[in-house]
C-alpha cells in the first residue's frame, strides 16, 4: 500500500477532526476527502479509522460498498455515461460503445495519459432528455455520438 504524502495525511486528519463530532460522520468524511484529494487513498483508511474510533474493516467496508468512492486517482476529467433503461431506449448502448471506443478504455478505467476516467452511472435523472452523459459534473442531454465528440473536444481544449 502506498503511503500518504504528508500534505494528504494532514488533509485527512483535518477533515476527520472537523467532522468527527457529527452524528454518523464516516460517509461525510469520505466525501470531503474525495472532494479534496480526488479519491480516497487506501492509506487514508487506517487514519480515518483511528480518528473516528472505528475499525479499519468498517471504513474499508464503507469505501468499497459505495460506487462513488474511488481508491485510485481520477483522470483530469471524469466522463459518466448513463447505462439505465431510459437511455437504452434511445441508443444509450450504442453511445456507450462509441464513448469506450473514442476514449480507448472500458468503464471504471482511466486513459493511460491520465486525461479521462470513464464511469458508468445508473440514471442521472435526465430521462426526458435521454441519452444522458455527465462530464466533470456538467449534465448533457440527447447526446448523440457526434455531440459527444464535440463535448469531448470542448473539454479537452479547456485543459
Amino acid at each position: 500500500m502506498e503511503t500518504l504524502s504528508s500534505s494528504q495525511g494532514e488533509t485527512v486528519r483535518r477533515i476527520a477532526g472537523d467532522l468527527k463530532g457529527r452524528p454518523g460522520p464516516l460517509i461525510e468524511v469520505l466525501h470531503a476527502i474525495q472532494a479534496e484529494l480526488g479519491y480516497v487513498p487506501p492509506a487514508a483508511v487506517p487514519l480515518v479509522a483511528s480518528e473516528l474510533n472505528l475499525s479499519r474493516a468498517e471504513v474499508h467496508g464503507v469505501v468499497s460498498f459505495y460506487h462513488f468512492f474511488r481508491s485510485t486517482p481520477p483522470g483530469a476529467h471524469t466522463v459518466s455515461v448513463c447505462r439505465a433503461e431510459s437511455c437504452q431506449a434511445v441508443g444509450g448502448e450504442a453511445l456507450a460503445a462509441h464513448v469506450r471506443q473514442q476514449l480507448g478504455v472500458d468503464f471504471h478505467e482511466t486513459t493511460p495519459d491520465g486525461r479521462f476516467s470513464l464511469e458508468p452511472v445508473y440514471c442521472l435523472g435526465n430521462c426526458a432528455c435521454s441519452p444522458a452523459v455527465m462530464i466533470d459534473g456538467r449534465l448533457h442531454g440527447r447526446v448523440s455520438p457526434e455531440r459527444f465528440d464535440a463535448l469531448l473536444s470542448e473539454v479537452d481544449r479547456k485543459r
Binding site: 460517509i27 469520505l30 459505495y66 460506487h67 431510459s86 437511455c87 426526458a128 432528455c129 455527465m134 449534465l139
Partner: protein, 512 residues
C-alpha cells in the same frame, strides 16, 4: 423599463443548453443597452420545449422555445421582451395545452417561482400550510394527512398518515424526519425537478412533519448524482434559516426544527428505507430486518419518519387547502395527484401531474405524442428498474396503484419509460438482472447470487440453447428471488424479467 425573464436552472434544461442561452441573453441585452432581471426558475417539465425562455408581459408570462444561443439576437429583434411574434413563440405559457390540461398541486410552483427566494415562495402561497399546522395540535395535523389519503410516492404507496401516527405515538425524546431523495429509478426525475424548482415546498413539508410528530431534526438523503439539486437545496435551506422558517424558533412559535442535506454515494439500494437509514448513519447501505419499523426504531435507533420527496412536498398543499381538497382528486384508494414522468423513447417527454385515473395510452400518446423515433411503441416499463414491462395491448390500463397491480405491474415512483419496436426484450430482461447484480447489497443470497445466475441463464436463452429447460430454470429462479429476499431489490428485480417472459415470448426464442 426593466424586463423580467425566466431561464431555467433545472439540470435537464441546462443539459440542453439553458445556461448558455441565459448568458447569451444577458450579453445581448447589455450590448443593446437594455435592462433585464433574469430569474433562474425550475423547469415547467415540458422538456421537448427546453430551453424554454419566458418573458413577463402585461398579459402574463409568454414562452419561447426551444431556444438556442443562435436564436437570441433574432428574439431581441422580434422584441420578445414585450412578447413579440417569433417562430419560436409558444404564446402564453399557461395556455400551452400540454401544461394547461395538467392538475398541478405538488408542482404548482415549479417553473414559476425563483426556487431559492423565500419571498417569492410566500407570494405564491408558500408557508400557508405551516401556518395552519402551527395553529393545530400534532394529532390534528396527522389527522389531516390521514384524511387526505396521501400514500408514499416513493413507490411503496404506504399511507403516510399511518407512518406519522406511529411516530407521534412513540414516547417523547429525539425523533427524526428523513427525506428519501435517493431517486435512483431510471425514468424518474420528479424529485430532482421539485428539489431544483421548488425546494422550499419540501422544506416546508418536512417542517410540518417535524412539528406533527415532535421531531426537531430533519435529514434529506440526496443521491450524489444530483449536484444541481444539492446546490438548490443548500441555498433554499440557508434562505429558510435566514427568514426563520427553520431553526430554534420556527415562525415565532418557539418550536425548533433543524434540517440538513446528507449526500449518498452512488448506491441504488439506499433508496430502500432501512438501507438509507444505515447510510445516513455513515455505514454500508445494507438492508435492516423489519420489524422493528423505522417509525419505532429508525435513525440512530430513534423513531423516524421516512418519506419520499414528493410525499413530503405534497404536505403543505394538504394543510393549506384541506385534506378534502386533496382527496377530491384521484380514484378508489389512489387519492390526490401523481407527478408522472414520461421518459425514454417518447416525443414529448417530461412531467405530467394529474389526478390518478388516466390511462397509459393518454399519457403516451396525448401527452407523449408517441415515440421519438416515429416507430410504433412496443412496451413501457412503469415504476423503474424493478417495474414490469407492459405490452401495447395493455396501454388502456389506468394509472393507479390498484389497476396496475391487477395486471401484475406496479406504479412505483411514477416513471414511464417507453420503448419502440426495435427493443429486444430478452436483452432488457438480462439488463434487469445485471442491474440487480451490480446494485445488490449482498445481504440475501437469492439476490446476490440469484441475479448473476439469472443473467447467465438469459444469456443461454439469447444464444438459443435449451430454451425449454432454461425458461423453466429462469422462472424458478425468479420465484426464489421474489420469495427469498428481504427487500424490494432482490424481491422485485424478477418483475421485469417475468413480465418480459409473459408478454414477449418470441424475444426469448420461445415458440408459442
Amino acid at each position: 423599463m426593466t424586463s423580467t425573464l425566466y431561464v431555467p436552472r433545472d439540470a435537464g434544461a441546462l443539459s440542453l443548453g439553458a445556461g448558455e442561452v441565459a448568458h447569451a441573453i444577458a450579453r445581448e441585452a447589455t450590448a443593446r443597452g437594455l435592462e433585464l432581471q433574469l430569474i433562474r426558475n425550475g423547469s415547467r417539465g415540458a422538456y421537448w420545449l427546453e430551453p424554454l425562455v419566458e418573458v413577463a408581459t402585461a398579459r402574463g408570462r409568454t414562452a419561447y422555445g426551444p431556444v438556442t444561443v443562435a436564436d437570441v439576437p433574432g428574439l431581441f429583434d422580434a422584441d420578445f421582451l414585450s412578447g413579440g411574434a417569433h417562430p419560436l413563440s409558444l404564446g402564453p405559457t399557461d395556455a400551452i395545452p400540454w401544461l394547461a390540461s395538467q392538475q398541478r398541486l405538488t408542482f404548482a410552483r415549479v417553473g414559476i417561482v425563483d426556487p431559492v427566494s423565500v419571498a417569492d415562495y410566500v407570494v405564491h402561497g408558500g408557508y400557508q400550510g405551516l401556518r395552519r399546522a402551527l395553529a393545530l395540535s400534532p394529532d390534528a395535523v396527522v389527522e389531516r394527512i390521514l384524511g387526505s389519503g396521501l400514500r408514499g410516492r416513493g413507490g411503496a404507496a404506504f399511507p403516510t398518515g399511518i407512518k406519522w401516527k406511529t411516530v407521534l405515538e412513540q414516547p417523547a425524546g429525539q425523533k427524526y424526519v428523513t427525506c428519501n431523495a435517493d431517486e435512483g429509478d431510471s425514468g424518474t426525475f420528479s424529485d430532482r425537478m421539485l428539489m431544483e424548482g421548488d425546494p422550499l415546498s419540501l422544506i416546508e413539508g418536512m417542517t410540518i412533519a417535524g412539528l406533527a410528530v415532535g421531531a426537531t431534526q430533519g435529514y434529506i438523503y440526496l443521491r450524489a448524482e444530483y449536484p444541481h439539486a444539492h446546490r438548490a437545496l443548500h441555498q433554499a435551506i440557508a434562505a429558510a434559516y435566514q427568514a426563520r422558517y427553520l431553526g430554534a424558533d420556527v415562525m415565532g412559535s418557539g418550536k425548533r426544527f433543524d434540517l440538513e442535506v446528507r449526500l449518498g454515494a452512488g448506491a441504488y439500494i439506499c433508496g430502500e428505507e432501512t438501507s438509507m437509514l444505515e447510510s445516513l448513519e455513515g455505514k454500508r447501505g445494507e438492508v435492516r430486518v423489519r420489524p422493528p419499523l423505522p417509525a419505532i426504531k429508525g435513525l440512530f435507533g430513534r423513531p423516524t419518519i421516512v418519506n419520499n420527496v414528493i410525499t413530503l412536498a405534497s404536505v403543505p398543499t394538504i394543510l393549506h387547502r384541506g385534506a378534502e381538497h386533496y382527496a377530491g382528486y384521484g380514484m378508489g384508494k389512489s387519492r390526490g395527484t401523481l407527478p408522472i414522468q414520461l421518459a425514454g423513447n417518447i416525443k414529448r417527454g417530461g412531467l405530467v401531474e394529474r389526478a390518478f385515473g388516466l390511462t397509459l395510452r393518454e399519457l403516451l400518446y396525448d401527452y407523449g405524442g408517441g415515440s421519438a423515433s416515429g416507430r410504433p411503441l412496443r412496451a413501457v416499463q412503469v415504476g423503474g428498474p424493478l417495474g414490469a414491462y407492459i405490452p401495447a395491448s395493455q396501454f388502456d390500463t389506468l394509472v393507479d396503484y390498484e389497476a396496475l397491480g391487477s395486471i401484475g405491474a406496479l406504479l412505483g415512483h411514477g416513471g414511464i419509460v417507453a420503448f419502440d419496436d426495435t427493443v429486444d426484450m430478452a436483452r432488457m430482461a438480462r439488463y434487469a438482472m445485471e442491474f440487480c447484480a451490480v446494485e445488490s447489497c449482498g445481504k440475501c443470497t437469492p439476490c446476490r447470487i440469484g441475479s448473476t445466475r439469472a443473467m447467465e441463464v438469459i444469456d443461454l436463452l439469447i444464444e438459443g440453447r435449451e430454451t425449454q429447460g432454461n425458461v423453466r430454470k429462469l422462472e424458478e429462479l425468479c420465484e426464489l428471488m421474489v420469495q427469498g429476499s428481504l427487500c424490494g431489490l432482490g424481491g422485485m428485480a424478477p418483475f421485469p424479467v417475468q413480465s418480459a417472459l409473459r408478454h414477449f415470448r418470441e424475444d426469448f426464442g420461445i415458440r408459442s
